[in-house]
């Protein structure tokens, strides 16, 4: 904590705070609630959102930043080595910023009923959802700090000296069977964009495609979509859906070293993910859309990792995204074309 770097000048906020989007009631037994008090209803599937609105420039388009698998909104806050996160940087550049925890994780909580039912013996253990976390060892190749644990790429932009602080950002991820289908986060993101009267939706990794899905639920509120290192860009959109996406500015961002084996069962390499997004961009462009790829290595910026918002050059990368927002999305309410 001593290493936290205090920026100057001060951060001047018109407002900050937090709230929830979505959620519904679940009726549960005393046992399902842990037995301290009477049976009844609890809120489940709500999405926690923390926000900061800058004093200067608060009429700029709001930006919603969604984290990836096994992580929380912490991804966008202070970096593992104590530098400024994208949340504050975008605020300092004049954008209201909204950082959720996905439904089922962090301050959004999860539905514990099934766990207590299994404990009590009324439900078989096999009904439990699989809960995901990534080992430190798996993170090195999968997040592309280096091909092997402890051996960073010579040009790695990730602050590998602070990799243990990234490890602490990990939380159990119940997205794979522990939350409803479709993922309530998608509707919550769409509703958040509506309540904000339009927003840029940004996803990362597992949530990389979420902005696309949220935009399809309510296209007019999605002023721009930023897909940061998405796990996969969908290949199964209908022509109608592609036409809708072609009406929205879309930016896809990938880092470097995408060709190494991830060691993860869901993809052989991040190049697969990159190519799936190139294919989607091609379809959207063919429909007249403005989707585009931001590929830093092509511009001579090397060594960016999967955690590009935490890399040492994270603000340089942010500047490209901010410039794209300025050029393609413009001010709140009025999209530039």
């Amino acid at each position: 904590m001593e290493d936290l770097q205090t920026p100057s000048p001060p951060l001047v906020l018109k407002a900050q705070g937090s709230f929830f989007i979505g959620g519904e009631k679940s009726e549960q037994t005393r046992t399902e609630l842990g037995g301290f008090g009477p049976a009844g209803h609890i809120a489940v599937n709500q999405m926690y959102v923390r926000y900061m609105v800058p004093q200067r420039g608060f009429r700029n388009v709001p930006v919603v930043m969604v984290h990836g698998a096994t992580l929380t909104g912490k991804s966008w806050e202070t970096t593992p080595d104590g530098r400024m996160g994208w949340d504050e940087y975008f605020v300092r550049k004049g954008h209201p910023v909204y950082v959720p925890d996905q439904v089922g994780r962090g301050r959004s909580g999860f539905n514990q009923a099934l766990f207590n039912d299994v404990r009590a013996g009324s439900t078989p253990p096999g009904n439990l959802p699989n809960i995901l976390r990534f080992s430190d060892e798996s993170v090195w190749p999968n997040f592309r700090f280096g091909a092997k644990p402890g051996a960073p790429f010579p040009d790695s932009q990730f602050p590998v000296g602070a990799v243990d602080e990234l490890s602490k950002q990990g939380v159990p991820d119940l997205s794979f069977g522990g939350i409803p289908t479709p993922n309530p986060t998608l509707k919550a993101l769409s509703e958040l964009a509506v309540q904000l009267k339009g927003a840029v939706l940004m996803g990362h990794s597992q949530s990389g495609p979420f902005p696309l899905a949220a935009a399809l639920l309510n296209p007019s509120a999605a002023k721009g979509l930023v897909l940061v290192e998405p796990g996969r860009c969908p290949a199964n959109y209908t022509e109608e859906q592609i036409k809708t996406l072609a009406s929205i500015p879309i930016l896809v961002v990938f880092g470097d070293h995408r060709d190494i084996p991830t060691g993860i069962s869901t993809r052989a390499s991040w190049q697969e993910s990159f190519e799936s997004c190139q294919a989607l961009i091609g379809r959207i462009q063919a429909a007249g859309g403005k989707a585009q790829m931001f590929n830093p290595p092509e511009r001579g910026i090397r060594g960016n990792s999967h955690m590009i918002m935490q890399d040492r050059n994270n603000l340089q990368i942010a500047d490209f995204v901010l410039q794209w927002v300025e050029e393609r999305v413009g001010k709140r309410g009025g999209a530039k074309k």
Copy 2:
């Protein structure tokens, strides 16, 4: 969200961000990690902390605000009806504020290995920890909004129209068997106070006694202790421990309507909790200490609930706490006596 009330003037921060305190490595199997990637180590038992440091008055004593059972640091943020939380209010009054999520909850995560072991059949379901949440129905009497669900006390200070937004703050609480003993949050709070070079430690409800325990781990870093509606004040401290606590300013805060039945198995009424704290205050005073009770009804302030930091008069209550800090704790580094 439309109801969020924007204060003016702007909030001017010297710094804001987040970090982790504590944590250790746990070696886990591929199955325990959810099977997506290789076996290895993850961080567990770390404590997430979010902070805001005001530009003016940042040399004032920092205040650490810890939430209660089934809740997260959200307790101290924007109230359920969209008013300013104690986190921002204390910052606006010149105090750096640090808001953790207890180990095992929210952005601090929890250790999922046992859950995946039970799912895989290698551990009996009975080994699962009991996971606690409070039903909406149980919250009405237990948090003292009214004696029965839906029927608020005529003088209730809680914004009962927004009680569903409080419900959304609930997260599964693994404190009862799902985290190590002693609770790692206690050591983390003590370490946080040391890193801050002294802090006022504030706990609420389940964490109400935590400031006492953290102070006993490192008395010199605990510049003041604020116990807000503690579930229980310990009765088993040694004379040596009482002597230590007598060297630290201590304030206990309780709301109104403490005599109604809670409906919760751990206490018949909150008056029991109040009396346990009066007993502790008595012991500390007998040892020459400055511990004291802040009992709003005695001052004609009626209707405060267990969630006093979210009540409609939450800033009035905060003013009493701030005045106590000013008088009893003083500036960072130098305690007034």
